[in-house]
Symmetry: C2
Subunit: 78 residues, 2 copies
Amino acid sequence: MKQLRHEQGIKEFGINLRKIRESKGFTQEMLANKADIEISQISRIERGIINTSISQIINIANALGIHPKELFEIEVGE
Amino acid sequence: MKQLRHEQGIKEFGINLRKIRESKGFTQEMLANKADIEISQISRIERGIINTSISQIINIANALGIHPKELFEIEVGE
DNA sequence: ATAAATATGGGCATATTTGCCTAAAGAATT
DNA sequence: AATTCTTTAGGCAAATATGCCCATATTTAT
């Protein structure tokens, strides 16, 4: 595994993304194609091993038909 | 200027961040210190020239005392 | 107008992300 | 059990972000 720095919230973000993606009936591949992102990248994001960017977040949200905000419906450490 | 790729939403994100930061009475420096991020980085984010990451978004939101979701209260191109 | 505070701009080295690829593991179906 | 679908894992090169530094511009206050 990687996980070099303890990045704030990326684990929870990935878990939430996966939950939403599955609830929409998307495979990682379907989402990747629609969001124009690599499949392996979706996997990395969902597993919380990378700290992805605003624009990918927005592209993913668009592909899922949700608002980017929803991807942040997570517990954020104070 | 930079702005190589037309990154989805990063301009709007930056504008919104600035609006919120100013409404809270923070200078870029105050926010940077509290969020443990470089001042120049705050400037770059607000101007929309970089595509920052989940964890920086969360750190900034925490520093501002808001939920990360609020930073995404932007018009997102469909 | 001057001074002080804030923000921009840029360069540079380092770190991280991203896409592309292949292999393999795991899950679901037949 | 075998086949197929889905996800994980890792390597690699190129692109991008980040921190650190300093100089300049812009704004705000005196």
